[in-house]
């Protein structure tokens, strides 16, 4: 008898140990919990800080009142239709690991009982996290992952505010076409044979391999010749043989998809190898980070990057200027593509919740599908936010658009991004050809 008793004590003891490990979230009143999954440590920690700052700024604006900002969420304190409920953010760090991201999403949904999820920057992580959200019917808004495949999976609980790489890559080829037709401000029509040869180097990830595929597709469509196209291991210590390969292809236009450290290394190596392409274009990410500019200094003058936001937007958009000032006060940096989109992501969440007037997933789903945010309320230069509800791109914002910026040295001697595409909003003459390092 006693041994049975002892045995069952042992069993219960073990269970109690397992139970102890359960962290229970306290239930707050009048707040809406949004789980935010970003790469706060790991190789993209710098981007993570930017994203986090963008989201936090948006939350501060949403939870307080800033009457002078012409956006709905600044006029109300909290969510008006939810009795002034405040937004509470729960940050999690996925370290760039998709499996970890999925685990965190489960934890946020089941343990922290979040009402929705925002994230995750890396396309690969967004993929697994959105799959978890779909299974648990928890709405997720993605603001900065640009792999086209994400919205092609028919998910009903996933919305993406940012335009994706297909649009951006098309923008690039429109720009190249524009060059040959003399549409670019400050550049005479360039004979096509001068920029016909392309070469691309993208990192070996979900995002990079999609970009690489898109470049291949569009090159064919627009009649360019892709002389070299390869994927390289992300976070390489050395890219010299890759760069030599690019040089060997004698390409006039070199295209990259890289995160920060690789982008810096790539440009440094190009410089060391004395490469002289006529156009260098980066697919956002590393090429528009503040570190890219600060470490490489003047040598990046003439490099192009696609983006959705650059400081020049401030000059054509008053709201962007106001938010940028707030952001600069908070972090010391200007808004960039990552932070502006993260800001917009949370803004969309607020608008969706406002419209839903409840935190029931079904109401949020209906609200998200019907939402329309006009462009004048956004910091990014889009026509607005409206999600596609049919066709093969469910949940994709159809009113977004991209920009192509070029690093140029201003009169004050500082390097900054100027808009060169779309042609009608370009802010400076394009430097062509690339002057060399």
């Amino acid at each position: 008898m006693r041994s049975i008793f002892r045995f069952s004590m042992l069993v219960f003891g073990l269970l109690a140990m397992a139970g102890l490990l359960a962290p229970t979230g306290a239930l707050g009143v009048k707040e809406v919990k949004i789980g935010v999954i970003y790469p706060l440590t790991g190789g993209a920690a710098a981007a993570g800080r930017e994203l986090r700052a963008g989201v936090e700024l948006a939350t501060k604006i949403a939870n307080g009142v800033m009457a002078d900002l012409p956006m709905t969420m600044a006029q109300n304190s909290g969510i008006k239709n939810l009795g002034g409920a405040k937004i509470k953010l729960i940050f999690k760090d996925h370290e760039g690991n998709p499996t970890l991201g999925a685990d965190l999403a489960k934890k946020l949904i089941l343990d922290d009982k979040v009402d929705g999820i925002l994230g995750c920057y890396f396309s690969s992580v967004t993929k697994t996290v959105s799959a978890v959200c779909e299974q648990y019917n928890v709405p997720m808004i993605n603001a900065s992952s640009t792999s086209p495949a994400l919205t092609k999976r028919g998910l009903k609980w996933f919305w993406r505010t940012t335009p994706h790489d297909k649009w951006f890559t098309k923008d690039l080829f429109e720009l190249l076409k524009g060059l040959t037709e003399g549409k670019v401000q400050g550049v005479k029509a360039v004979p096509k044979k001068e920029i016909k040869n392309l070469a691309s180097a993208c990192e070996k990830t979900e995002w990079g391999s999609h970009v690489s595929g898109l470049i291949k597709e569009f090159a064919k469509e627009y009649g360019f010749k892709l002389r070299k196209s390869f994927l390289y291991a992300a976070k390489s210590a050395d890219l010299s043989s890759e760069v030599r390969s690019l040089k060997a292809s004698r390409a006039d236009v070199m295209l990259f998809a890289s995160y920060t450290s690789d982008a810096i290394l790539m440009v440094k190596t190009l410089k060391a190898q004395k490469a002289h392409p006529k156009v260098i274009w980066g697919q956002d990410a590393g090429f528009e980070k503040p570190e890219f500019r600060s470490t490489l200094g003047d040598s990046i003058s003439g490099i192009l990057t696609r983006t959705v936001f650059l400081p020049k937007v401030v000059e054509i958009k008053k709201l962007a200027g106001q938010v940028n000032a707030l952001y600069k006060k908070k972090t010391g940096n200007d808004l960039g593509g990552a932070s502006a989109r993260a800001f917009t992501g949370l803004q969309t969440w607020v608008a969706v919740l406002e419209k839903a007037g409840s935190t029931k997933p079904a109401d949020i789903q209906a609200a998200a599908n019907a939402i329309y945010i006009p462009g004048k309320e956004l910091v990014v230069p889009w026509k607005g936010i409206k999600f596609s509800t049919s066709g093969d791109e469910l949940g994709q914002n159809i009113l977004g658009s991209g920009l192509i910026g070029q690093y140029q040295k201003g009169k004050d001697g500082k390097i900054s991004l100027e808009i060169v595409y779309p042609f009608d909003v370009s802010s400076a003459d394009m430097i062509f050809p690339f002057a060399g390092f």
């Binding site: 045995f7 042992l10 069993v11 073990l14 269970l15 397992a18 139970g19 490990l21 359960a22 962290p23 229970t24 440590t41 999690k92 760090d93 690991n97 998709p98 499996t99 999925a102 685990d103 489960k106 934890k107 949904i109 089941l110 343990d111 690969s124 993929k127 697994t128 959105s130 799959a131 978890v132 779909e134 299974q135 648990y136 495949a149 999976r153 028919g154 998910l155 009903k156 070996k204 990830t205 979900e206 990079g208 391999s209 999609h210 994927l231």
Partner: protein, 335 residues
């Protein structure tokens, strides 16, 4: 019949071992009925998966004494077989898992046959190299999704789908892997008493003596390697269904290989309970250290530092792992 009886026969263990093992098993079985966090559940599944990996590794690494640091390639083969077959041809898990095991075993012969001519560190390093080569190939092979990996669609199947092993709630996965876990224990229990098991131990003690006893050393090693591979590949298939999205970087990373070997080593290589103890200590330690220290205080990597510290201490002072310590204490109290 004889085999089954042998597999279920644990009579050569002390009673204390069996009591604790029984209590732990019952605790596992009833665990999901008690309130628990999703985090605890995920940790539990991780633990069971790694115990199984460790058991597989233990056959060749523990009983056979060949340090294999390339198990991740077989995790990858298992996971990819299941995922590719499910996505492309809608083959259910219960069919694709054995096929994956066959493929993995086939590959293990190709790799293992030449490799077992090497000994000691040469062998260990060569297993790492072969994993890296396979990973590089999978990263560019379009048929298996190249670097972007494969995703099992979250909306195409209706969970719970027992045939394809597609579930929404972790509890189903928990019981599936728990079933594998018990089967694994029974298998290893049989294995250690089998002919091959004894051959291996004599090889580990002294290869030349084993050869002089008429044991085909090379062939015994290759066979055991295949068994270890089958274990790992089976769990790999499960991993694909559980995670639902696989990439070479994720499933074939060297970290997994190392974790598998270290866990078994820490617990005590060459004993039945060793890998389970190792996984039982390291997996929760890793998860919770990360949760408490890493994420909150921003102390990234502290979990692995503690973990590495333990490994260094163990390898320097008690190479037979925690189980070795337990046995030492026992021997001392007995005498």
């Amino acid at each position: 019949m004889e085999t089954i009886r042998n597999a279920l026969d644990f009579s050569d263990f002390p009673r204390l071992d069996l009591t604790v093992a029984g209590a732990v098993s019952i605790a596992f079985v009833v665990f999901p009925l008690f309130p628990h966090s999703a985090f605890a559940m995920a940790t539990m599944i991780q633990f069971l998966m790694f115990s199984l990996y460790g058991m597989g590794w233990n056959t060749i690494g523990g009983y056979g004494g060949q340090v294999d640091l390339g198990k991740a390639q077989y995790v990858g083969i298992g996971a990819y077989t299941t995922a590719v077959m499910l996505i492309r041809w809608d083959v259910p898990f219960w069919v694709s898992m054995p096929i994956g095991m066959c493929l993995a075993v086939g590959w293990s012969f190709i790799i293992g046959y030449p490799l077992f001519r090497l000994k000691g560190h040469y062998f260990a390093i060569a297993t790492i190299a072969s994993t890296l080569v396979l990973k590089d190939i999978f990263e560019v092979w379009g048929f298996v999704g190249a670097a972007r990996g494969l995703e099992i669609s979250p909306i195409k199947y209706n969970p719970p789908d027992f045939l394809r092993l597609i579930f929404r709630d972790d509890i189903y996965y928990f019981y599936t892997i728990l079933g594998f876990f018990f089967l694994g224990i029974f298998y290893i229990n049989w294995f250690r008493k089998s002919r091959l098991g004894f051959q291996l131990r004599s090889i580990k003690d002294n290869e030349d003596v084993a050869r002089s006893l008429g044991i085909n050393v090379h062939w015994a090693k290759v066979k055991t390697y295949a068994i270890a591979t089958a274990f790992v590949s089976m769990v790999g298939s499960f991993h694909a269904c559980y995670i639902k999205s696989i990439e070479p970087e994720d499933t074939m990373s060297l970290d997994i290989s190392i974790l598998i070997a270290l866990m078994a080593m820490l617990g005590g290589a060459g004993s039945l309970w060793g890998p389970i103890i190792g996984a039982g200590i390291l997996i929760p330690l890793k998860s919770y250290l990360k949760e408490w220290l890493g994420a909150q205080a921003g102390l990234v990597g502290i979990d692995l530092i503690i973990y590495a510290g333990i490994i260094m201490l163990i390898s320097a002072f008690e190479p037979r792992g925690i189980w070795g310590i337990v046995e030492k204490i026992r021997r001392r109290t007995r005498s």
